[in-house]
């Protein structure tokens, strides 16, 4: 960023809650059906139809709120947000306004600036204030392509209308695009972790918007802000914010100024462009939705939800560091996905060697999973079998490189460690009497070297080790070989 300027960013995230049915009617939320099939009088906005709240929305909303450090409010109310758009059949969206479902969140995220290659520098904790997460219904989908006369007409599919959303709004606490990037990733993982949302940006069940303004360092007020939309991935969002920072600073410095407006990220041209200017700014005329009662959430309900909550990723990361002696980086990587974290913990416990478990999973297993396009739960190599392999390694029956080779074969074939080790002939000889026999032969056959070694040429020790290993076809346990050689020479 140009010297002397700073950026102020606030984030809004819409997350689809993972219910079977819509928020106010029993139509399915499932994806990929023919247009307008999952519709009924309620989500079509037909006169006289009445909304009834889906209890699962309350449960998943509470889980999402708790995972983000928000307080679930005892009473919240639904309000009508009035505007006209063809994808909104009632002429209003049922949302929440002055009494949202949850509020006053403090979330600690880990964030780092990146170098020019996008590599993270040092990750540090940062507190983000989350103002609220309220519940609302989604609109339908506008179709502008692939149908007749799209220059004259738009087309509407209302399958998505009425899908439950949680809208998560932060204070303007972000001071860089990477902080916003790390925040969205944190939220995405938290929602997936507790099962509140699939939070997949590609499928559109997580959408984010960034409110961006810049000001000179030292200024206390705010300059005009721009709302960025159409951010279809976290990376696009980060790029759009960077672009907007440069554009706004330039506009202020040239005296042209920045308009308060909505801009879209144009991923083809790598720039933002105006979608809606301030003149069309909406006046939503919110008022309480008379067709729905206030939503009252009891403290017993919250206690029950709390008891069902899994350990959250940050807490798990800290525990992995404490309990298993892992580094911050390794523990952070293991808790990137819930399945991977569970896989690790099973392996660590069953093998009794948490650090080697972490090394094998983070380097070898993740590589194999990525190559095969699989997740930890789909791994053909089970956590229990991996633990057996690590035990075999720790017992000195195979060496580290052999273990890595065995792991790949176990992953590809689904076989156990023992079976693969036998097939590959990797079984190490740790039997002292067998190794002693070989050592005796080597000593007898290399009199000159023995004399030289005993005369002080210690470098020759390596020669003896090599001879023993060769005679055992690489199967002798190097530790045992060393010990026996030392005592016999």
């Amino acid at each position: 960023m140009k010297e002397g300027w700073e950026v102020i960013i606030g984030m809004e995230i819409h997350a689809q809650l993972a219910t079977e049915t819509k928020i106010f009617c029993g139509c399915a939320t499932s994806f990929g059906h023919d247009p307008n099939t999952n519709t009924c009088p309620v989500c079509l906005g037909l006169p006289g139809a009445l909304p009834v709240l889906n209890e699962k929305v309350v449960e998943l909303g509470a889980k999402a709120a708790l995972a983000l450090g928000l307080e679930v409010q005892e009473t919240s109310i639904f309000s009508r947000k009035n505007y006209f758009y063809p994808d909104l059949p009632k002429g209003y969206q049922i949302s929440q306004y002055d009494k949202p479902f949850s509020a006053n969140g403090i979330l600690t995220i880990m964030t780092a600036e990146r170098d020019e290659h996008g590599r993270a520098k040092e990750f540090k904790p940062m507190q983000i204030r989350i103002e609220r997460m309220h519940l609302e219904e989604d609109a339908g989908k506008n179709v502008h392509e692939g149908l007749p006369d799209v220059d004259k007409f738009s087309y509407i599919d209302l399958n998505r209308a009425g899908t439950p959303l949680g809208e998560i709004v932060t204070k303007a606490d972000f001071r860089s695009s990477w902080q916003a990037y790390d925040y969205v990733n944190h939220v995405r993982r938290a929602l997936q972790w507790v099962g509140a949302s699939d939070a997949d940006m590609e499928k559109g069940n997580l959408r984010c918007e960034a409110n961006v303004s810049v000001r000179k360092i030292g200024e206390t007020g705010f300059r005009n802000k721009v709302e960025l939309k159409n951010l279809n991935s976290v990376r696009f969002m980060q790029k759009a914010i960077e672009y907007e920072i440069e554009r706004q600073i330039e506009a202020h410095e040239s005296g042209e100024g920045v308009n308060q407006e909505t801009r879209l990220w144009d991923e083809k041209n790598n720039k933002t462009r105006v979608m809606r200017s301030k003149e069309d700014a909406h006046d939503y005329r919110y008022f309480p939705e008379p067709d729905l009662q206030p939503l009252v959430v009891s403290s017993e309900f919250i206690a029950k939800i709390k008891s069902e909550m899994p350990e959250l990723p940050d807490a798990m990361r800290d525990r992995f560091m404490q309990e298993y002696g892992l580094s911050f980086a390794d523990a952070s990587q293991l808790v990137l996905e819930k399945d991977l974290a569970a896989f690790y913990e099973t392996t660590a416990k069953a093998s009794g060697n948490p650090r080697v478990s972490a090394n094998f999973i983070l380097s070898e297993l993740i590589r194999e999973l990525n190559n095969a396009g699989k997740t930890a739960t789909e791994s053909p190599l089970s956590a229990e079998n991996l633990a057996e392999l690590i035990k075999t390694l720790d017992a000195g029956k195979i060496n580290n490189n052999q273990a890595k080779e065995v792991l790949v074969e176990m992953f590809n074939s689904g076989k156990t460690a023992d079976a693969v080790i036998k097939e590959k002939g990797f079984e190490q000889i740790s039997d002292t009497s067998a190794i002693e026999k070989i050592v005796d032969e080597i000593i007898a056959n290399n009199e000159n070297q023995v004399t030289a070694y005993r005369g002080g040429n210690e470098k020759l020790f390596g020669f003896f080790v090599g001879q023993v290993m060769k005679a055992s076809q690489g199967k002798a346990n190097p530790k045992v070989v060393n010990e026996i050689l030392k005592s016999k020479l």
Binding site: N36, T37, E55, E289, Q293
Partner: protein, 93 residues
């Protein structure tokens, strides 16, 4: 009372003559309703959700179980214009 703004928000087109007619009419309506402000309601909780009997909380909530939807044909049967399973509307951005 900015009648033009109200009309715009309601997507209504009105003429200058209509603005002249509606402005005093709407002023009267608002003045009539404003009589309610004469009552001191500082100790009265706002009633939210018009169907709730005072002081009573009812549990109007349903299980997350899919019902039979209308389906495409019925959903579109009331539409002024439907094409290829979609509602057809004038071009929007």
């Amino acid at each position: 009372m900015d009648v033009r703004q109200v009309a715009k928000l309601a997507h209504l087109e009105i003429t200058d003559e209509e603005v002249a007619i509606y402005t005093p009419q709407m002023k009267n309506i608002v003045a009539y309703v404003e009589q309610l402000n004469e009552l001191d309601t500082s100790n009265v909780e706002p009633m939210l959700g018009g169907l709730t009997p005072e002081g009573e909380t009812t549990n109007a909530i349903r299980e997350d179980i899919p019902h039979q939807s209308l389906g495409q044909e019925k959903a579109l049967s009331q539409a002024p214009s439907a094409v290829a399973g979609h509602f057809q509307v004038p071009k929007v951005l």
